[in-house]
């Protein structure tokens, strides 16, 4: 698996040499989910006149941001053959930490740093439990899912914390139309891609996910790398939590409940394999956009509440199925 993916990245970067139609078809082949996204956008544009407007597309971007940022983090875990179920809770805990520090008179920049540190610390604990405690990632992060949510409730005393305006600008727009959450999403996407492609840790993720034993034998310090991986997932969750709280101008202890499932769905729709070794930042972004476009479209078309859940399930299954079939072909 690892060997399949790595050359793919290198091929992407090789300049010239291919004629455009070939490049396009290869691009689609490597990004099966992108085809599904384009199909959905075209379909929705026909079904609703309100879909393909600049404002609505920006809305979709904003609504995808939190899931996407969570999912970028989860990509690291999944590529390395693990999983992280705690990202929703860690996001809520980090958001509450930001709100709590903000109301305690801590300088805002420091509150941001400490909120991200909180998420990173949760991730480190996950990493320690997994690499040194030898817990399966599923169990370690399931424990954190509960513990971090509990800490969020303890710190907030169960009630939402209203954020000062010095924080909530992150959820607003610059000028009239440029939404900050979208900028944060794009920046995090670039960071994810750079980590995966350019860093030692990124290559270690593919290697560990492909074959942990082989990675170990080839000299990768697997345990230390796992600490890095889960700490990164935690840091990304914290950023997502900050964006979510800022959008509402309120840090909520029950925020992002269940978002870990959306994040995992986004990663898998984006072409990553739950078996590890495969996955890309761009794929995850497309996966998160598919979910956001879908929810937006269902609202625009005023689909009934009961059917929405059916449609969301069906589209997730179809998107992954399309991708699997394309790979096999």
């Amino acid at each position: 698996m690892a060997i399949d993916t790595q050359p793919g990245h290198r091929l992407d970067k090789r300049p010239g040499g291919n004629r455009p139609p070939q490049m396009a078809s290869r691009f689609l082949k490597e990004n099966g989910a992108l085809g599904a996204l384009i199909a959905m956008v075209v379909l929705l544009a026909f079904m609703s006149g309100d879909f393909l407007t600049t404002q609505n597309l920006l809305n979709v971007g904003v609504q995808a941001a939190v899931t996407a940022i969570l999912a970028f983090g989860v990509t690291f875990a999944i590529v390395s053959g693990g999983i992280d179920l705690s990202v929703g809770s860690v996001a809520a805990f980090s958001g509450i930490m930001l709100g709590w520090l903000g109301t305690q008179g801590v300088p805002i920049w420091l509150a941001f740093v400490l909120a991200i540190a909180t998420g990173t610390a949760c991730g480190l604990v996950n990493g320690l439990l997994i690499s040194y405690g030898k817990l399966p990632p599923f169990i370690a992060t399931l424990a954190m899912l509960s513990a971090a949510r509990g800490l969020a409730l303890v710190l907030s005393d169960g009630t939402p914390i209203t954020l000062p305006e010095s924080v909530s600008w992150i959820g607003e727009t610059i000028g009239d139309w440029l939404p900050v959450p979208v900028i944060v999403m794009i920046v995090m996407c670039v960071i994810t891609a750079l980590v995966l492609i350019k860093t030692y840790s990124g290559r270690a993720m593919y290697a560990i996910g492909g074959n942990e034993e082989a990675a170990h034998l080839s000299g990768i310090r697997v345990r230390r790398q796992k600490l890095v991986i889960y700490a990164l997932v935690g840091a990304f969750a914290a950023v997502a939590g900050i964006v979510l709280a800022s959008r509402l101008a309120s840090a909520q202890p029950q925020a992002a409940d269940g978002y870990e499932l959306d994040a995992i769905a986004a990663v898998v729709i984006g072409g990553a394999s739950l078996a590890g070794g495969v996955g890309k930042a761009s794929g995850t972004l497309v996966g998160a956009l598919i979910l956001a476009v879908l929810r937006n479209g269902l609202n625009l078309l005023d689909v009934s509440a009961f059917w929405q859940q059916v449609v969301i399930g069906a589209v997730i299954a179809l998107a992954v199925l399309l991708d699997t079939l394309r790979r096999r072909a």
């Binding site: 309100d50 609504q63 939190v66 909520q252 992002a256």
Partner: protein
């Protein structure tokens, strides 16, 4: 103002009638008898709603001279099961339970049934056990009041969006039922979209943003709870409460502030203290062998900018 006065007059009158009837049946047992021992197992005292319910129950018990013991399960169903068991072995005359979980409370309530202790459910029901009565907010009436409040503020015409709660929950169902019945009286009002936002603020924000794209001329929003209403207000920004009227449900402190500020036009407030009082009042009636309705609805009230000061 006058509406609130008349509502409180009705509540007062009901209370007087109920007290009179309670005293009437109670007088037979005489003053020499020992105080009635009641147990109240409450789900969690970490929310203002539950604390107010407890305060109401204690006030009513004091007024009627009953001996009420309150236990806090801290949102843990097994702690609550132990507490109910302890109440049963202490031989309380009646037990009020505000279940952590309607299903999980079943077995321990059944044990109380076997010990012939009457059980009253408060705020939430209990499944698979015998309950004398369930005392809860009147969500259907609340939905009707919300419809009337929204329609009045829109002058009886306009396009509205309904933000639905978690699909399948009883509170969402009942509030929707009341709202739909209430809004039928205003043929000028058209529900142009009805979308789920799961009782969550973040989803209320996203769904409202989306629907405003397909229906930019919306005049009003009914949210089945306050959290979604606050999300809708965030989505609408400066339009909230002005160009677009928003009506919520619950009367949480944050929403009352928003009502005062004007971004939320009105909310249907529940009365947790009244809920606690009604639970104790009916527990005593049952101990004194009166029959009670199997479902007791606690009235809800509409809070607007005019009367918000009396609630916050």
């Amino acid at each position: 103002m006058s509406k609130r006065k008349s509502t409180s007059a009705v509540v007062l009158a009901t209370a007087v009638v109920l007290t009179a009837s309670a005293c009437g049946t109670g007088s037979g047992s005489g003053d020499g008898k020992k105080k009635i021992k009641l147990g109240f197992a409450i789900s969690a005292l970490n929310q203002p709603f539950m604390v107010q319910m407890k305060d109401g129950a204690e006030a009513e018990a004091k007024r009627q001279g009953a001996d009420l013991t309150v236990q806090d399960a801290q949102e843990d169903a097994s702690t609550q099961a132990n507490q109910v068991q302890n109440f049963t072995s202490k031989n309380v005359k009646a037990l009020i339970i505000n279940p952590v979980d309607s299903d999980a409370a079943g077995p321990s309530v059944k044990a109380a049934n076997n010990a012939n202790i009457p059980v009253i459910a408060a705020d939430r029901g209990v499944n698979k056990a015998d309950i004398e009565t369930t005392v809860a907010s009147d969500n259907v009436e609340g939905g009707k009041l919300a419809a009337k409040s929204l329609a009045d503020q829109l002058g009886g015409k306009g396009e509205i969006l309904v933000l639905r709660g978690q699909v399948g929950t009883s509170s969402s169902r009942e509030r929707a039922k009341g709202f739909n019945e209430g809004i039928k009286k205003y043929p000028g009002i058209k529900i142009v979209a009805k979308q789920p936002a799961d009782f969550l603020r973040a989803k209320g924000l996203d769904v409202t943003t989306n629907v405003m794209q397909s229906h930019p001329n919306i005049d009003g929003i009914f949210a089945e709870n306050d959290e979604m209403a606050l999300g809708a207000a965030k989505a609408l920004g400066s339009k909230a409460g002005g160009d677009v009227k928003i009506v919520g449900f619950d009367g949480t402190p944050e929403t009352l502030k928003a009502v005062k500020k004007g971004s939320i036009s009105s909310t249907v407030a529940q009365q947790p203290d009244e809920l606690g009082k009604m639970a104790v009042r009916n527990a005593i009636r049952i101990v004194e062998d009166s029959t009670v309705d199997p479902k007791i609805k606690v009235p809800v009230k509409v809070v607007t900018k005019k009367n918000v000061d009396r609630y916050s």
